[in-house]
Symmetry: C2
Subunit: 178 residues, 2 copies
């Protein structure tokens, strides 16, 4: 698939805006993702406010380049699809529950659908996840039983980075057993 | 993207085999996935042995339909890319480390590249992950510091299931804040 081969993480964007209908198109692709028992734990926050983007960038390892992107898509996993009365929970990076691993897995799948669908229509993106839950949740009013899996920046590229290196397949591949 | 819209989870396969070069093609797409700090935690085990597939199906919630698929692709996340001396660790479903969440996330991205690349070439798949680490690792000789994220069945479909329902986008979508 060309989208997989050609896609690069882009951290420099030009001034061209991305309209809501384009973002909705990407989220439709996310919505169709497979998930464990079809539980669909994903939620999405579309952020365009420069003030909010600056706050996000600040807690996301101070990656100020993020502010330049016209839209942030915040991908949030909801453990409530798997645990009743989750409203009393406070999810952290060090929380041990299997259900948290499952909703992170499934939301990552949906997020990658956003990434590949964007590439398909000539829109550039970058995965970011260099924040702590306790720092990013208050910025966006996210309840403590939700886990922010990533913030995807989206926009039109103003750079042409070369491919990053990848490990050889032989070093990753096993036949019949480890 | 047609692959995202049209893809279904397939649990009934015909007798047609899938050759190694086709599986390698899928794993090349997985290998190109993005990952946090380009750490690439993924490993893959290609399983064709009927005995091993039956053992996997047995610990994977006894999903006997899995045996019918000619190939299982076992997707394994290696925490060693993030933690030194991980060889002494024993990862479990209830392990609390942030690094485990990160490698699950990244391996899920790579696994979905397999799923979508398969759809692109007319090959059908199903995500499965209804096993415990302590049950599946011994079958495949996987060290205790690796975490099995999923077993993907692959083959040629012998069924045409209708789309599973998905939540409306409106119920998942937020603007500017939660």
């Amino acid at each position: 698939m060309d989208e997989i081969v050609n896609r690069r993480s882009i951290r420099t964007y030009n001034n061209k805006d991305v309209d809501d209908s384009t973002i909705i198109h990407l989220l439709e692709a996310a919505r169709l993702a497979p998930s464990g028992s079809n539980t669909q734990p994903w939620n999405f926050i579309i952020v365009r406010s420069n003030v909010t983007k600056a706050k996000i960038a600040s807690v996301d390892h101070n990656q100020t380049w993020m502010i330049q992107s016209p839209v942030h898509i915040v991908c949030v996993a909801d453990i409530g699809v798997r645990i009743q009365n989750s409203i009393e929970m406070s999810l952290q990076e060090e929380s041990p529950m299997e259900e948290l691993k499952q909703i992170i897995r499934d939301t990552a799948i949906a997020a990658e659908h956003i990434i590949l669908s964007a590439e398909d229509i000539g829109l550039s993106t970058c995965w970011t996840a260099w924040f702590k839950q306790n720092d990013i949740r208050p910025i966006l009013g996210i309840p403590s039983d939700k886990y922010v899996v990533c913030v995807i920046t989206a926009g039109y590229s103003d750079e042409a980075p070369r491919p990053r290196p990848r490990k050889d397949l032989e070093s990753l591949l096993h036949f019949e057993k480890w």
